[in-house]
């Protein structure tokens, strides 16, 4: 009996059981039961994915589940990778959720939706036919949407607007995907992926290009690709933390999955311009996302924008892989794709950790604004340490999970120069510049997040009363932290699995991939061993410490902070996240276009004496302002105009119906 099949079956059963438990059990029991069952569900997904990555595969046709077509399920290495990631995230987030749900999202509905969402994340990569994929996709979209709005009881405008944005954009995306895939299925005369794979080569370039553009729009919007990212920084912060983690670390990846599945697998590569588009959009996404993150002062918004950045890097890698593949350099393509997929995995690890950490802070203080946090390291040491580990990963510094994957990405770009063609030569340097800039800004961003959020003195009573998170939350975070450390030090362990994925997609040389991931690109002449680097640094640090102890045998005393002789130093004198980001904001003024507003109220007696000065600054999402607002306004105007049509008279409605029927008949007559 196939392990994958068993695992998936168990997962389905667990999901059902969890939903049932959520509905019937009383509150306290419900939370625990759902948490445990979902954790098991995640483990099952992890197993299924792991088995697929280990070389297993599984395909089945269940005619009775869905009407008409029935459900086609098939799991190969690619699906396995995304399944494993989703499963791992679900596992950690569910364990965490047990403790968190007492604080928020413990309601019956939320608890029932959680396992559904989790299961849909396993189902999407397993889908093997257009209808199955769309059904799973819609299940994922709907459940996550409901979870987002379930966020805070009573909501508040931010939650509501986030829900609206998410609903609209995800469904527009769905429409795009639907059109694209249906077009593809129709053109390939088959609805199953196997059939499409067989029929795709015969398609006209127009059809292929059109399909690709459509799915790029659809999956890209899910992956937060600029300019379709607007929903992401709204929805992720507002959702309850475990949900944000699941969305940010698992769901957005599926956008990448869809792109790779359709573009590289079903359509089998394709024209160079497709992938150049992806590459350039990815570069834009990365830079824009990290810029917004660098100036954001809301912790979860910052993390959401950092998700945008990382997905941009992943898309950049995928695009590069496509370009190399289209130019016939499959070895490089394999390398770039491996880099992108590895970054997907590492990003999932550290982003889960970061979001869970942010949730713990929210749970302990009720505050998300970095300007009002600070000093948490004293009150919640474990959370602070784990968050710092995640931040190290997000900053892509040695010892962090992001370092090997971003390094690999740069390697694949640098060696891409072997590819002839002027476009490549012009685009690759730009891409490297984008990666470098986003890496540099990421360091600044996460130094800000850790430094102003967790270090120094608390800036608000809420932060002063902070308390360490409950055990289950810490357990969930620790699980992810282990994953982060593993990926940071031994990225090579992922080598064979990635090779299987990549060689499944590109008949390129798989050897280069394993070596590349293991940090040993002997074929390409560049190597890296994070374990060595980190270990060496630590050893040197210990040796230096010993030497210092020997050299300086002086007593140590504690003294008040140096206040320039003008006490007291208050917490309000510290640099806040906003002030930390001010220089960057000023440097990128032209891009960010911040809105700052300074109002000075002079004293009653004299205009020269100032009584109060108020300064407020906001960095709105410029793309959103420039691109979306006009569209929204026109739509609204159209809606208002349409209102006149409906004045409540039954005759008028019947008239509409009648006219429509007649017109339809006329059209039919004309068509013959």
């Amino acid at each position: 009996m196939n392990l994958i099949a068993v695992a998936l079956g168990v997962a389905a059963a667990l999901a059902g059981a969890a939903v049932l438990a959520a509905v019937v059990l009383p509150a306290r029991l419900r939370v625990v039961a759902v948490g445990v069952l979902s954790a098991l569900l995640g483990t099952a997904g992890l197993l299924a994915g792991g088995a697929a990555l280990a070389g297993g595969s599984f395909a089945a046709h269940l005619p009775l589940v869905l009407p008409l077509a029935g459900v086609y399920v098939s799991v190969d290495a690619l699906s396995g990778l995304f399944m494993a990631v989703a499963g791992a995230v679900v596992l950690a987030a569910s364990v965490y959720g047990v403790g968190y749900a007492r604080h928020a999202g413990g309601g019956r509905g939320a608890q029932a939706l959680w396992p559904l969402f989790a299961f849909s994340l396993l189902l999407v990569p397993a889908a093997a036919s257009v209808s199955t994929l769309l059904a799973a996709w819609e299940l994922m979209a709907a459940s996550s949407l409901l979870l987002v709005v379930s966020g805070h009881r009573g909501g508040g405008d931010s939650v509501r607007s986030a829900g609206v944005w998410y609903a609209v954009m995800t469904h527009l995306g769905l429409v795009a995907i639907l059109t694209g895939l249906v077009w593809l299925a129709a053109a390939a005369h088959s609805e199953t992926f196997a059939g499409i794979r067989a029929g795709a080569p015969g398609l006209s370039p127009v059809a292929r290009g059109g399909v690709f553009v459509l799915v790029l729009i659809g999956f890209g919007s899910k992956a937060g690709m600029v300019p379709l990212h607007a929903w992401l920084p709204r929805a992720h912060p507002e959702a309850p933390t475990p949900v944000s983690a699941l969305m940010s670390a698992a769901m957005v990846n599926l956008g990448v999955y869809g792109l790779v599945r359709v573009g590289l697998d079903l359509l089998g590569g394709g024209a160079r311009w497709w992938w150049l588009t992806v590459l350039i959009l990815g570069a834009l996404t990365a830079v824009y996302g990290i810029l917004q993150a660098a100036v954001a002062s809301d912790l979860k918004r910052l993390l959401a924008y950092s998700t945008v950045e990382n997905l941009g890097l992943i898309l950049l890698g995928v695009g590069a892989a496509g370009v190399f593949h289209a130019s016939g350099h499959d070895e490089l393509a394999a390398l770039a794709l491996a880099a992108a997929l590895l970054h997907t995995v590492t990003h999932a690890a550290f982003k889960t950790l970061l979001f869970l950490g942010a949730g713990a802070v929210l749970h302990a203080t009720g505050v998300r604004d970095l300007d009002e946090l600070g000093g948490l390291r004293a009150r919640m040491p474990v959370t602070s340490g784990l968050f710092a580990l995640g931040a190290l990963g997000a900053a892509a510094l040695p010892g962090g999970a992001g370092f090997p994957s971003e390094w690999l990405l740069l390697q694949s770009l640098i060696h891409g120069l072997a590819v002839p063609g002027i476009t490549v030569v012009v685009v690759l340097p730009v891409a490297v510049g984008a990666v470098a800039l986003s890496a540099g800004l990421a360091v600044a961003t996460f130094v800000k997040a850790v430094g102003t959020g967790f270090l120094a003195k608390p800036r608000s009573p809420a932060a002063e009363q902070a308390h360490e998170a409950p055990v289950s939350m810490l357990a969930g975070m620790s699980l992810t932290a282990l994953a982060c450390a593993g990926l940071a030090l031994l990225p090579g362990a992922a080598g064979p699995a990635l090779r299987r994925v990549v060689t499944g997609l590109l008949p390129g040389s798989g050897a280069a991939v394993t070596e590349g991931v293991a940090g040993r690109l002997s074929a390409l002449g560049s190597t890296l061993s994070p374990l060595w680097v980190v270990a060496g640094t630590l050893v040197l640090a210990l040796v230096l410490r010993g030497l210092l102890r020997m050299a300086a045998r002086t007593p140590s005393r504690s003294a008040p902070l140096w206040d320039c002789g003008a006490p007291p130093l208050t917490a309000r004198m510290q640099y806040t996240a906003t002030s930390f980001a001010e220089p960057l904001q000023r440097v990128f003024d032209d891009v960010l276009a911040p809105e700052s507003d300074l109002d000075v109220t002079p004293h009653a007696e004299s205009a020269y004496l100032v009584e109060r000065v108020a300064y407020s600054r906001a960095v709105p999402d410029r793309i959103e302002h420039r691109l979306y607002n006009p569209v929204i306004h026109t739509v609204r105007r159209a809606g208002l105009a349409a209102r006149a049509l409906a004045n409540g008279s039954v005759h008028r409605y019947l008239g509409y119906g009648f006219t429509a029927v007649v017109l339809l008949l006329v059209v039919l007559a004309a068509a013959q």
Partner: protein, 217 residues
């Protein structure tokens, strides 16, 4: 590759670098000395080409270019500047950082468009051709983004240097007459502009083009 080609690359590199420097520095005197450097680089290119392709007349051209672009024009510019009170490009239309980045884009563009030509000619000199084009583009950029009349002259000179370089590298040496003709009307242009600036300074005290717009109404 041959030593000549190396030298040519170096000269062309210096040529381009001078243009970048002009874009980078706000100080007009520094810009002028960079222009002088560029003039000599241009002369060097001509000499190397002459040695490479045994065109003795190129030496004459080189000498002319060197004297004119390296010595005379910069001297004139310095005269024009020394009379001025403010000798810095204080507030260009596009801030320096942005214009530098766009210059990077322009260079890439220059390389991209000139590839067919380079492949067509396939000579060592042709491979340096994009640099000439890049310099011309940067000159145009300065022409459109700077306010001071003198910076405009600098942009114009860059443009002309670039064109000359292209002529050298592509056609392997323009006829002396053409070169001289170009340079002379260039000289005239500078002289006219200089007279104008002095007169304008006498009249309005400054040569900010935005102020000149007031002359319309």
């Amino acid at each position: 590759m041959s030593g000549d080609a190396e030298l040519l690359d170096l000269a062309a590199g210096a040529f381009l670098l001078a243009a970048v420097g002009v874009l980078w520095r706000r100080d007009l005197t520094a810009q002028t000395s960079l222009l002088a450097v560029q003039g000599f680089a241009l002369a060097a290119i001509a000499v190397i080409l002459g040695a490479d392709q045994a065109h003795p007349e190129l030496y004459a051209v080189a000498a002319g270019v060197g004297v004119l672009r390296g010595a005379v024009l910069p001297a004139l510019m310095r005269r024009a500047i020394s009379a001025r009170a403010t000798d810095r490009e204080t507030r260009p239309l596009m801030n320096v950082g942005a214009s530098l980045l766009s210059a990077a884009a322009l260079v890439l563009l220059a390389y991209a468009v000139s590839q067919p030509l380079v492949r067509l000619l396939g000579t060592a000199s042709a491979r340096a051709l994009p640099m000439g084009l890049a310099v011309a583009l940067i000159g145009l950029l300065i022409l459109v983004t700077r306010r001071k009349a003198l910076s405009q002259i600098t942009g114009f000179l860059l443009l002309d240097n670039g064109i000359t370089a292209i002529a050298f590298l592509a056609a392997a040496g323009v006829p002396l007459l053409v070169e001289l003709g170009v340079s002379f009307d260039l000289l005239l242009a500078v002289l006219v502009l200089r007279v104008l600036t002095t007169r304008m300074r006498a009249l309005f005290g400054d040569t900010d083009l935005d102020d000149l717009r007031e002359l319309h109404d």
